[in-house]
Amino acid sequence: MSLVIGIPRALHYYTFIPLWERFFYELGMKVVESGPTNKHIVDLGVKTTVTDACAPIKIFQGHAEALARKADVVFIPRVVSFEGGYVFCPKFLGLPDMVKATVDNLPPVIDTRFDLRRGFAALVRALVRLGTELGSGKAKAFAAAVRAIRHFRQSGWTAHLRREHGVGAVGSIVEHGVAASRSSECGVGVSSRSVAQGVAIRRSDEHGVGATWSSVEHGIIRRGVHGTEQDGEKLPVTIAVIGYPYIVHDPFLSCGMLDILEKARVRVVTMEDVSTRDIEAQRGALSKQVFWHYSNRALKAAYHLMKHTEIDGLVHATAFGCGPDAIVDKFLEIDCKDEYGVPFLSLTVDEHSGQAGIATRLEAFLDMILRKKGLSAFQRLGGPGRTDSGLHAGADSRLQNGAANGLQDDLKVPVVQGRQVS
């Protein structure tokens, strides 16, 4: 009986899952995920966390607790730094301790420390330590680590090894298109190219050992640019949605922000669409580098998009109570206004956010952009069969992600209907 490792689907999951999952797979262990965020998971998390923790942390604890009876051990790595000079938010650093102190009846927690400030070799060392801790031999763990890192690299991490611009920078896993499959009800259809290129995010079959890697059941991170342009039409409006992957790409937490925009026929770009090289090229834009991993990437990606691409507006998706975002948000607000003249919208989400509220704000923002561009709403809506309710039609994604997603079955949780406001 192989060990079953539980991985909460929140926070750094969105960046590092190809690495971790491949590593455990190479060691012959089974991986169980907590599934997409839903109301039940959020409720679990809210019960155990302190009130002033940010929503992603609350959700993370919910995910960890949801794994309680499904896994032999829960993997909550202490990700301190993945590149020199940048660390993760203090809440990431204390994450395993916070979960251990507050969540009862949790299986043993594996809290391997990943601190790559002193160099890349630390990643291999950390993975070997993790492997031996889980009972495999050193040689086997080393081989698995090497394969997992290579896999992670192929999935877009090359930039880190090339060490462009002096500072090694972590490329996001989506650089070469991790799974840009989008739900078919978006009307866009599954982008076959990205699926073919896509890294297997999760094994299709959690129960079988011989699971395949190539199947991408659903995208974790989507790339707006590719998917939308494959429609072969030029969309009139481009909006950058800047925010941490665990907010923007969690449809529940972000209230389906991306869906809403895409349904409104908007071309969406996110920080994952900006390459690490472009991000690090923006060093000069700041008098002192922001020292948090994700914030640094978000801020510089935004500067890149504003300087070198044509975007009509910038939406900053931030979580209530997010510490680093207090800084990122103000910088974006001031620079959008004074420096680049790009319309700016800050959208704060938390566990209570309603889709209608988000949709209304996005709609107003879009209207403003269209007026600025001199386009009428008709031109925006363009093709036949589209109605003005395009925005609100996307608004129920929070409901759908529970019911429509096959992964939901994992948890056998009733999906509470009726979150929708209005």
Binding site: T49, V50, D52, V87, D97, I334
Partner: protein
């Protein structure tokens, strides 16, 4: 060049003096008031922590009073304070203020930067610089000493307010002293006088440890004078942070790569095995230490959205359960009111009192 700097408790006049001695005009920052906080809250990001808002408000007030240079400290994360001067600079510039901002970064790794920064506002010869720095350090050390003694005496003093009065007199006298010799004389005299404040020897006050984020712990104007208020309820409050201790351990020893606060880290390790910036690790470690040295309770002061303190706050309930020490967290922001804080303090003190009585009965 008219310098201003962050206001911090009794230390403010000392820094005013320091910058004067270095040959600058100084605009002494005003004590944080309702207006300071309103100004800060208006222009700061909503989820910035209270220290940022207060400091931003202070800077605006000082700039209005004619200051044109701001000196503050930096950091390398992961606590947000390390980036605050850049954010404040950005905000103030977008508001149209014209000024220079100097950030003193940690010595480790930024030695040349510091030298450069300091040179730009030192207009006196090196010998005078040395004199200015030593007298400042001595003054700060004596002020810390006064406060320490005062915290011991105030809960059990017979004439209400006598030790506070002496403390304030002492700080004023220290401020006037010109050289090291005078400072030592004045300092010793007041430590002596404070030590002789009449107290009720029969009383055995409750002992409470104060932990949390450095700015809200050190600045009485922001923490609703929590220590004085506890003292007035007859409770001895031990403050875990004093500026001179903290600077010695975190700025100087750290620069020499001596791991400061080893014991505190060791105490925190079973619960939090990672420095999380700010005073997060200290808060956990100090709580363990207070529990082990027989304190009745611990009060954590945390600014709303302070990341390291949220980590600590999440872990403290477990420490509290394991070691049997009650912990009260006071989250401070612009919405916090004195009455709310007082009610919580009174309830907490009641709880501690009952606990002690019950423990007394059990052992009797």
């Amino acid at each position: 060049m008219k310098i201003t700097f962050p206001y911090m408790g009794y230390y403010a006049p000392v820094f005013t003096n320091l910058f004067r001695k270095l040959g600058n005009e100084v605009v002494a920052p005003p004590r944080p008031s309702k207006r300071t906080l309103d100004l800060g809250t208006k222009h700061a990001p909503e989820f910035a922590c209270l220290p940022l808002k207060i400091l931003l408000g202070t800077y605006i007030e000082a700039l209005e009073m004619g200051a044109d240079t701001i000196v503050s400290t930096g950091g390398v994360g992961p606590c947000r304070a390390g980036y605050y001067t850049r954010l404040q600079e950005k905000i103030l510039r977008s508001l149209g203020y014209d000024f220079r901002m100097f950030t003193i970064e940690p010595i480790k790794g930024h030695l040349m930067d510091i030298v450069r920064t300091i040179r730009s506002f030192v207009n006196v010869p090196v010998t005078k610089l040395y004199d200015a720095l030593t007298t400042t350090w001595l003054k700060l050390a004596y002020i810390d000493q006064f406060e320490r003694v005062c915290h011991h005496r105030r809960p059990v003093e017979i004439n209400r307010g006598s030790s506070t009065r002496l403390l304030e007199e002492g700080v004023a006298a220290i401020d006037k002293a010109q050289n090291c010799k005078e400072i030592r004389e004045v300092g010793r005299a007041y430590v002596d006088m404070l030590g002789k404040v009449e107290i009720d020897e029969t009383k055995n006050p409750l002992k409470v440890g104060i932990i949390g984020e450095i700015y809200v712990v050190l600045e009485p104007a922001v923490n609703f004078e929590v220590i004085e208020n506890l003292n007035k309820m007859g409770v001895y409050a031990h403050r875990s942070i004093f500026l001179t201790d903290w600077t010695r351990e975190n700025a100087f020893l750290d620069a020499l790569r001596i791991q400061p606060e080893k014991q505190i880290r060791a105490q925190a390790r079973p619960y939090l095995n990672q420095p999380v910036g700010g005073h997060g690790e200290n808060s956990v470690g100090e709580t363990v230490r207070y529990a082990k040295s027989g304190y009745d309770g611990v009060i954590q002061l945390a600014p709303f959205t302070c990341i390291p303190e949220i980590v600590a706050k999440s872990i403290l309930p477990k420490v509290s359960r394991d070691l049997g020490i009650p912990v009260l967290t006071l989250t401070l922001d612009e919405q916090t009111g004195l009455e709310g804080v007082m009610t919580r303090l009174e309830a907490f003190v009641d709880l501690l009192m009952r606990r002690r009585l019950r423990a007394g009965e059990a052992s009797a």
